[in-house]
Symmetry: C2
Subunit: 120 residues, 2 copies
DNA sequence: GTAGGCCCTGACACCGGCGTCAAGGCAAGC
DNA sequence: GCTTGCCTTGACGCCGGTGTCAGGGCCTAC
């Protein structure tokens, strides 16, 4: 299938797919006229990529997952390299959660203060 | 005091203070030679600004807080406009917390899967 | 042959708080 | 008068995934 069809089936844009390729995540074959040619494997791969991006991974983080899938594994996260990235990202997310929780508590406290001032 | 001294006392840089001014957060007087002149009030203001920025507010969000302080209130968040911004930001933070929690659970699940595979 | 629709590459725009460099003025000590 | 160090304004860079535009090729239908 051509890039437009894959984009539509994956719920994204041709620009985005070219970007993934530029960063070494997918390697489509080329037709004689230079058009990119994709198969269903690439479609699943793009779904995996977009899922990881949605979880906050960067394109560089995603490479080990793609390599893991290409190596024949049923999931991208079962290889040591991807597991390492998973652990790093988990620590990062835990950090963000802690920070955001502190912020949320401060915001709540300030809003509570206002409420008390209105009903003194 | 001049911009360099304020920057040092506020733990930031002259560039940053000029940026705040450019976005309407502070309005220092000018010496005859054009140098910015600050007093201790501006120092407290800058501390407030940096605290709000650290909580994830944008410079535009901060304007109501500054106006509230300049209007003579003891804290920047007691005015209606700043309270509205507070509520908006709280909702935003709650949203981020929900998203990040979902992500964290997914990451944990995947790491757990790996652990199970290693001790089958 | 031409119109329309897909494809190609390359490059700039975005966001936002700030770093950083350029080119120049002002103040003070030697 | 020269150096040193602070000040001024103005402008570009960053980050990262994607939108979008420019300029041009391929293919099919009419």
């Amino acid at each position: 299938m051509l890039i437009g069809e894959l984009a539509e089936r994956a719920g994204t844009s041709p620009r985005t797919l070219r970007y993934y390729e530029e960063h070494g995540l997918i390697h489509p074959r080329r037709d004689a006229n230079g058009y990119r040619q994709y198969d269903d494997g690439e479609l699943r791969l793009v779904h995996e990529i977009r899922s990881l991006l949605a979880d906050g991974f960067g394109v560089d983080d995603i490479k080990p997952f793609v390599a893991c899938l290409r190596a024949g594994n049923s999931a991208g996260h079962v290889c040591p390299d991807s597991a390492a990235v998973l652990r790093r990202r988990l620590a990062e997310v835990d950090g963000y959660l802690d920070q955001l929780t502190v912020v949320r508590d401060r915001l709540r406290t300030q809003l509570e203060e206002i409420r008390c001032q209105m009903n003194p």
